[in-house]
């Protein structure tokens, strides 16, 4: 069973993999073979629920001070990332990690660069909306805001959710996210150039990328330490550093005031010997054309730079994965790899299907005859 391509095993096993780390590693080993790469199957989507989720995604009223929406950091024209090294954050804070793409996010087994949420997009939505330095929203207040907008009241009803509630908001947004599936890459179309094809062979073979970048999304959804250099901007800029401190206080990171590096997946596994410090989730390699700069902290600006990084055996870190070694790739081989990586990018998801058309009126009209209406 584990030799079958991951996409055909389905979501259940993916979740199972997240829970059983050891089994996950076995799958990594097997998917390094030519098997397991192919187009991503689009999830079944309820069109009305997804349309509702789309409007919510672009609506700034879902943040505490109504200043930012999900789309402030997940920008459609930038591959649902933001093009920045380190993300923005809620006003008064600033980000300490690179915004990950949301394209194909519905297929993930664990979310955020440290993989700290291994459940589902409902939880990811809740976490992103309520976290103080993200959108800082009290979801009870959010529910009542949404209920004040007649357009939402109708959309929730039409979608079969009944009255707007914070529970159905957390269902509708994931339904929309399920529509964000990669389409139209040369890789999926079987139209790769010869150089890209040579790159793919290197990817699976000599370069060893497929050891972690496996499956249709080119990720095993596991955390590793590859020695990506620290981003000094986090520790130099108080707004970023203090946001990391707040995160660390909440996550229970030891010695948080003296730490000057992002501990990564340590917040999930809390290993006493610290051997999990500096591990970050293998990112997807789809839509890279739209999502520079790269790595969890945006430290590498170009795909050429990423390939150089791995060719040099990654960065330097005491906890670096021993499989990261200098690759000895020629200049041409490196170029072929970059060509292959570019072939994994498809069409931008910037049409009406994926972007709420028109402006959202963020003002609230009073309910007429309020005294006679049920609340």
């Amino acid at each position: 069973m584990i030799n079958r391509p991951i996409h055909s095993i389905g979501k259940k096993l993916t979740v199972f993999v997240a829970g059983v780390f050891a089994l996950g590693l076995i799958i990594n080993a097997t998917s390094a073979s030519a098997d397991g790469f192919g187009p991503i199957k689009a999830p079944k989507v309820d069109a009305k629920k997804a349309a509702l989720g789309k409007r919510l995604f672009f609506d700034p009223r879902l943040s505490g001070d109504a200043a930012i929406s999900c789309s402030t950091c997940h920008i459609p024209s930038k591959g649902f990332a933001d093009g920045l090294e380190l993300s923005k954050a809620y006003p008064g804070s600033d980000g300490f990690r690179n915004t990950p793409t949301l394209i194909n996010t519905a297929q993930r087994a664990a979310w955020f660069h440290d993989g700290r949420l291994g459940t589902n997009l409902n939880d990811v939505t809740r976490e992103s909306i309520t976290e103080t330095y993200n959108m800082n929203m009290d979801m009870r207040l959010m529910q009542e805001r949404v209920k004040q907008d007649p357009i939402y009241v109708k959309m929730f009803k039409d979608a079969g959710y009944g009255e707007p509630s914070n529970g159905s908001i957390r269902k509708a947004i994931p339904e929309y996210l399920k529509t964000l599936t990669s389409r139209g890459s040369a890789f999926d179309a079987g139209k790769m150039s010869d150089a890209a094809k040579r790159g793919f062979e290197l990817f699976k073979g000599k370069a060893g990328c497929a050891a972690c970048h496996s499956g249709n999304r080119f990720t095993d959804d596991q955390p590793y330490n590859t020695g990506v250099p620290n981003n000094p901007d986090i520790w130099r800029k108080p707004l970023r550093h203090m946001t990391y401190v707040a995160f660390g206080l909440f996550m229970g990171i030891e010695n948080i005031m003296n730490i000057r590096r992002d501990v990564g997946a340590h917040v999930r596994t809390h290993k006493a010997d610290g051997s999990d410090i500096g591990k970050f989730m293998t990112p997807t390699l789809r839509e890279l054309k739209q999502t520079a700069p790269y790595m969890h902290n945006g430290m590498i600006r170009t795909l050429k730079g990423v390939v150089e990084f791995y060719n040099n055996g990654g960065g330097s870190d005491a906890n670096k994965d021993p499989r990261i070694k200098p690759l000895g790739l020629s200049k041409e081989e490196r170029a072929n790899l970059v060509t292959f990586l570019n072939a994994l990018s498809g069409k931008p998801l910037t049409g009406k299907q994926h972007v709420w058309p028109g402006k959202i009126d963020v003002n609230y009209k009073p309910i007429k005859d309020w005294l006679k209406q049920r609340n």
Partner: protein, 372 residues
């Protein structure tokens, strides 16, 4: 009824008013008196350094969630240390649902907020700073931000011995600062201390009405001019809920967040006050008697800011209070049959409860700096 009165009187006497036992024996309301010094809790003594720190924190917008709102935004020195709209402005993107009360003399109160949900200033500050409609701040974020202000790190170390600023000490410092906002030398206070010239003849007539025919003293008694008990006066609902979408959102949020029944959430059209704390039907629409000093600067009045001046207030009581949807209105309110002259006298007396305005410039807020 009589027994209840005796018990509550005994409580008041027991709490604060040592020396007035003789009057209590006569089964009267706690007598009016000049205001003394505020009580200082033994576990949060006043020091100059703590007060100075608390002042900075009170004015620092970085306590609020998006670093744009400080305590002083809804408790503004230029607006009577409250907020001059009927309903407080609240957090950006929201509006509050009650009138912002003055911080002046809050040091004397054992029941803070309109329904007494906090028992001390140390306890009031976090509710205001962290609530979604007010500061929308969060403890970890507040501690993290303060750690990047060298001036705060130094001050918290000196005042509290904190290695890094601790959020509970933020509330302590704020409370210490608030305990310096004291208004106890009004013309009324001077009069009660024996300066018979401190009140005009008209104000003295008003004082007599206050204690007599108008019977304000039934609830506004003791040195603080409040019994700190809860009543429904029949104050009408806030206009905002009928006319503003944002206020309607807040209204429902409060019904939801404060835990009413589904039926109540669907049908209620007013603020049920003390009910949200006790969940007792008899407490619907009840609010704590506010103190009356400094009121020359704190209009509009009542928990929802319904009345804009003393004249409107006096008319309201002269009519025997108002009517709202709760069947809990106090029987203490009856039409007073005050003449126009008497009403003017009463207003003149209310004016004697305020002295000079407590002014304060916004202090310079210390900047962030990177950690070493």
């Amino acid at each position: 009824m009589k027994t209840m009165k005796k018990i509550s009187l005994a409580l008041i006497v027991g709490l604060a008013l040592i020396g007035f036992a003789g009057n209590a024996m006569a089964d009267k309301n706690a007598p009016l008196a000049a205001l003394g010094k505020p009580p200082i809790p033994a576990d949060n003594p006043q020091t100059a350094a703590k007060v100075a720190l608390g002042k900075l924190l009170f004015f620092d917008p970085r306590i609020g969630g998006d670093a744009s709102v400080s305590c002083a935004d809804c408790h503004s020195p230029t607006q009577g240390w409250g907020f001059a709209d009927p309903i407080s402005r609240g957090y950006p993107g929201a509006i509050h649902w009650r009138n912002s009360q003055t911080v002046v003399n809050s040091a004397y109160l054992g029941k803070l907020f309109w329904t007494g949900s906090a028992k001390s200033l140390e306890n009031q500050a976090p509710s205001a700073a962290l609530g979604a409609l007010s500061g929308n701040g969060e403890r970890d974020v507040i501690e993290a931000r303060l750690a990047f202000v060298p001036e705060y790190v130094k001050a918290f170390r000196e005042v509290f011995g904190d290695r890094w600023p601790r959020v509970n000490n933020v509330w302590r410092a704020m409370a210490a600062f608030e305990r310096t906002l004291i208004h106890n030398n009004t013309p009324f206070d001077k009069y009660m201390r024996g300066d018979k010239k401190a009140l005009s003849e008209q104000q003295v007539r008003g004082l007599k009405l206050f204690q007599g025919k108008a019977n304000c003293i039934e609830c506004h008694n003791g040195p603080q001019l409040t019994d700190q008990k809860y009543y429904n006066l029949g104050v009408p609902r806030a206009e905002e809920w009928l006319t503003r979408g944002l206020a309607q959102i807040t209204f429902r949020y409060q019904q939801y967040g404060k835990g009413s029944t589904e039926k109540m959430y669907r049908t209620i059209k007013d603020d049920a006050g003390l009910y949200y704390r006790t969940k007792e039907k008899v407490d619907k629409g009840k609010f704590r008697t506010p103190p009356l000093r400094y009121t020359a600067y704190t209009a509009p009045y009542m928990h929802n800011g319904t009345f804009f001046d003393f004249e409107e207030l006096v008319d309201f009581y002269n009519d025997g209070g108002g009517k709202n949807e709760f069947a809990t209105k106090t029987k203490l309110l009856k039409p007073l049959n005050l003449s126009d002259e008497e009403k003017e006298d009463l207003v003149a007396f209310l004016e004697s409860l305020s002295g000079p305005e407590i002014k304060m410039a916004t202090p310079k807020i210390p900047p962030y700096a990177p950690l070493d």
